[in-house]
């Protein structure tokens, strides 16, 4: 073949294919447009003719059939639908392959043409009406437990399920068959008008232990029965539950495994390479790593003292290993928060029904990981907050309509990382918090005095205090004497914080700030007045020299200028009532929490170390400035500073200073 002429044909074919593709896509939007169908037909006809002329026999054969299908469509009553377009587009791609490599590509021609003819024949199986395509397989034990697939199928049928078929591929050979095992799967299509939740609700009891694949039929071209091997039984051989032994009829269920469309129901989902470990063992591992870290710190202190180079080298190795081991152990303990979000979906669904309020519940940041201890303790507070949002936050559907809002209230639960913290937010679009109502309630309950000056966020936070409840009527859900103070207590146990924001009429947002882990953190050790303290390193932004004019405590301004920003600072020496003389060259550790920065004046920065967090005894639980203690390399105990608490102390001081300035100005 003349290369030049062949090249010309390729170019022409490429243009024709582009035109064909455009035509098919246009046709998808305007399926009855005769002009477009004619244009498609012309493109095909030209490709066929030119192809045959330049020796592309396979191409010509294929396009001839393709063209015939469209010719039928052009003359017939059955219009062009999604299924036809989908196969036609694939056929268009196939034309390209037939031009590039006719020998390799032709094998696929027959299959495509079959699909194309089937799609164009207008059989419902081939062109499913828009709707749901459901494939499910119950847990193997379900028949023994009294589960009844027939009732499920009846419920599906009530919803309008059509074309219910059994999927028998997973049924083992007769000799391996335990008739009490449920090996049958089913597929069905349901009208698009059925809400997804209605379908899911049918399987409520079964969802924990089943394969369930519900797809929009239009978006799941692999699911329609056209893609199913014909070996699938046309009638549903449902085990009758009243028969104790539901043996599938061998006539309908060939014992040999049947090919099953893999995309539809993966009978053997890929096994994730995981193993279950008892959590007690993880705790023990963490304790051991904690001890290792402490022993390593002692070794390191000794090595420094002796200064022997080979000892120092080994110590560095051990340091590196223990640090790696710590990270590995901690990562084992990290659990995605999505693991507890699942149960909230159910909770919100139930709440929605009990309260008679339509609720759209969404979640985000399911991948955010927290230490498993934190996750476990978090579940109850979140239930409280979500319940509170649904019960008190969201208005009734009528009230929402009256306020010009959508009837369905929305509640969003989301998690995200922020430095060494995880932020968990519960946001609703309800009525919002009424600061005045909260205030008068708090005054009525003697929680604050009538003349108390509270900022808005301080006022909001009152709802987390014991004994506070604004519920005017005691509802079934909230009148249980368990208030949001439980939430506050738990979050404080976790060394976390609660923030509340609200805009009246628009909704409220509860934000929980939680540390990533309760076990080991990187620490920055400092010294003041001969005492050692540790900052969680993640909260430290930088360390600077204390400017000489601040060397001694004065009544002048307590702000540092850090690159143009004013940062209030506190002297740990003063805060902790240390009487030792002040050394020269004090340092300021700039820390941040919740987006706010403060400086803390210390004598000396000792250095970074791994810090095994030991909880403080209950006898010291009332102390605000410390989040725990740790053991240093010399065996002594050092307290860990609670940065969020120190930051709020610093901001309070800042407010006082501002007030003083204000008074002076006035």
């Amino acid at each position: 073949m003349d290369e030049e002429i062949g090249g010309l044909f390729r170019q022409e074919a490429a243009e024709l294919m582009a035109s064909l593709e455009r035509g098919l896509l246009d046709l998808e939007r305007a399926p009855k447009d005769r002009a477009i169908i004619d244009a498609v037909f012309r493109d095909l006809h030209t490709i066929k003719g030119s192809g045959a002329m330049f020796g592309f026999a396979a191409l010509a054969r294929f396009v001839h059939e393709f063209e015939s299908v469209f010719d039928n469509l052009r003359q017939g009553t059955h219009g062009v639908d999604q299924a036809v377009i989908a196969v036609a587009l694939r056929s268009c791609d196939h034309i390209g392959r037939l031009i590039e490599a006719p020998e390799g590509a032709e094998a696929a021609s027959a299959e495509l043409l079959d699909a194309l003819r089937l799609a164009a024949s207008g059989e419902t199986a081939a062109a499913p009406p828009p709707g749901w395509s459901l494939v499910f397989r119950l847990g193997r034990q379900v028949l023994r437990l009294g589960g009844n697939p027939r009732l499920l199928l009846a419920e599906l049928a009530e919803l309008g399920a059509a074309d219910i078929r059994a999927r028998l591929a997973a049924i083992p050979a007769l000799d391996a068959l335990d008739p009490q095992d449920c090996c049958t799967g089913w597929q069905a299509s349901l009208p698009a008008t059925v809400p997804q939740t209605a379908i899911e609700d049918i399987f409520l009891f079964y969802r924990d232990d089943m394969q369930f694949n519900l797809q929009d039929a239009a978006s799941a071209p692999d699911l329609p029965a056209a893609a199913q091997p014909p070996a699938e039984a046309p009638a549903p051989p449902v085990p009758a539950p009243s028969d104790p032994v539901p043996v599938p009829d061998p006539a309908v269920a060939p014992p040999a495994p049947v090919r099953e469309a893999p995309a539809a129901a993966p009978a053997n989902p890929p096994v994730a390479e995981t193993m279950r470990v008892e959590t007690g063992r993880l705790d023990e591992l963490m304790d051991r790593v904690g001890e290792l870290v402490i022993a390593e710190a002692r070794l390191s202190a000794l090595a420094q003292r002796f200064g022997d180079p080979s000892l120092l080298a080994v110590t560095e190795d051990i340091q590196r290993l223990s640090s790696g081991m710590r990270n590995a152990t901690m990562s084992i303990r990290m659990v995605p928060i999505g693991s507890i979000m699942g149960r909230f979906r159910r909770l919100m669904r139930d709440l929605s029904q009990t309260l008679g309020k339509p609720i759209a519940f969404t979640t985000g940041g399911e991948d955010t990981e927290l230490d498993k201890t934190v996750i476990e303790l978090l579940a109850d507070p979140l239930v409280h907050i979500l319940r509170n949002s649904a019960d008190h936050g969201l208005e009734s559907a009528e009230a929402r309509r009256a306020a010009g809002k959508p009837e369905t209230g929305s509640i969003e639960l989301a998690a995200a990382y922020s430095g060494a913290e995880v932020l968990i937010t519960v946001r609703d679009d309800g009525r919002g918090l009424d600061a005045e109502a909260i205030r008068s309630q708090a005054i009525a309950r003697n929680m604050i005095t009538a003349d108390a000056q509270l900022s808005q966020s301080e006022t909001f936070r009152l709802i987390f205090e014991p004994g506070f409840s604004t519920a005017k009527k005691v509802t079934e859900l909230s009148g249980r004497g368990v208030g949001l103070d439980v939430v506050k207590r738990t979050i404080e146990t976790l060394r976390g914080q609660i923030d509340l924001a609200s805009e009246p009429g628009k909704g409220a947002t509860v934000t929980l700030r939680l540390p990533l882990t309760l076990a080991i953190v990187d620490g920055l050790q400092i010294e003041v007045g001969g005492e050692n303290y540790t900052f969680p390193l993640a909260a430290v932004e930088e360390c600077v020299e204390l400017p000489p004019e601040f060397e001694t405590e004065g009544r002048s301004s307590s702000f540092l200028n850090i690159r143009g920003g004013l940062v209030p600072f506190l002297r740990l020496r003063t805060l902790f009532a240390i009487r030792e003389p002040v050394p020269p060259f004090q340092k300021v550790v700039i820390v941040s929490a919740g987006g706010q920065r403060i400086g803390l004046v210390v004598d000396r920065i000792v250095g970074n170390n791994q810090t095994v967090i030991k909880q403080l005894s209950r006898l010291h639980a009332h102390l605000k400035c410390f989040s725990g203690a740790t053991i240093l390399g010399d065996g002594s105990v050092a307290l860990i500073l609670d940065v969020p608490q120190l930051v709020s102390l610093g901001r309070a001081q800042e407010d006082r200073l501002r007030d003083q300035h204000g008074e002076r100005a006035a």
Partner: protein, 122 residues
């Protein structure tokens, strides 16, 4: 054929509510006052479904499910666990013991009927 349901609860008022609701809908109801009673009744007769409470004298609900599931007569009998919503963990335990479903207490007649219909059929 009339379907027979075993209602296991130590509270006579709950049993009465279950009996009235279900008999009104054409079911036949047998009552058991605790897990031990239920175990004896369920071994003697095949029920179309069993509804059981958790906190009961002599034998609690989950222990009843566990013991009953060890017997041959339990095959194919659906058990619904009636739990209080504050006990997520219990529900899980009941599932592991062999309950097919659960229902949150308190429930109303419509919910009860819906669940029984779901597991036992109409």
């Amino acid at each position: 054929m009339t379907k027979t349901i075993l209602a296991v609860d130590d509270s006579p008022s709950v049993r009465q509510m279950v009996r009235l609701t279900l008999t009104g809908a054409g079911y036949s109801v047998v009552e058991a006052v605790d897990g031990q009673d239920a175990l004896e009744k369920a071994s003697a007769q095949k029920f179309d479904a069993i509804l059981t409470d958790q906190n009961m004298p002599r034998l609690d609900g989950i222990s009843f499910i566990r013991k009953f599931r060890d017997t041959a007569s339990a095959v194919g009998v659906p058990i619904v666990f009636l739990s209080t919503e504050s006990h997520e963990g219990l529900k899980q335990q009941a599932r592991e013991a062999g309950a097919i479903g659960w229902m949150m207490k308190p429930f109303d007649q419509a919910q009860l009927l819906a669940v029984v219909k779901k597991v036992a059929g109409a």
